[in-house]
Amino acid sequence: MAMTSFSLSETVIDAAALTRELAQAGAGACVTFEGWVRDHNDGRAVLRLGYQAYASLAQSEGERILAEARDKFAILDVRCVHRVGLLEIGEPAVWVGVSAAHRGAAFDACRYIIDEVKSRVPIWKNEHYADGESGWLHP
């Protein structure tokens, strides 16, 4: 299971199916995070986004983050999916789901995972602006 908890996807993320994968009889809490494509960033109107990944390293780094979350927090199961390719406004770009016996660990682990994914996993966002320009974000 640990080897398939993180994945990159070229197609729409199915949150309901992913949530069902987290179910266990001992699970009392499930926290999910979805990152949606916003229509603006830093004051510029955004039409759509493209995500590019270094796929093999993104996969191994993503799995490493999920393994860290399993070590640090009393959670039962976890999944993370990140989109690659072109996305429209409002589409989920990333989904994180965590199940646990109790909610504190589920919240903390979900927050940890998305923070680490955003800072460590080699995926880049290319914003296409309303003025016709586009640009890679390298914060």
Binding site: A53, Y54, L57, A93, V117, P122, W124
Partner: protein, 79 residues
């Protein structure tokens, strides 16, 4: 020796390719980036990048060997 170099995001746009085979005399990743920066005119300083060798993060002093696959990782912006 020859290394395979992978480019992503702004570096890919700048190099105008996603990968290339590079003949290098550089002994480590730092030297290889200096060589490629001179060739392609990359604006991004080494301090903003991370290095990966053969699919794993590595240090700038990582000694390169013939056939290594090297990637210079710009600041990420997933999520």
């Amino acid at each position: 020796m020859k290394c395979r170099v992978l480019y992503f995001a702004a570096l890919r746009d700048h190099a105008n390719t996603d990968a290339e085979s590079v003949d290098t005399l550089a002994s480590d990743a730092r030297g290889l980036y200096a060589q490629l920066r001179a060739r392609h005119g990359f604006g991004m300083d080494e301090s903003r990048l991370r290095v990966a060798v053969n699919g794993e993060f590595a240090g700038w002093n990582h000694a390169l060997r013939d056939g290594d696959e090297v990637a210079f990782i710009p600041p990420v912006s997933g999520g």
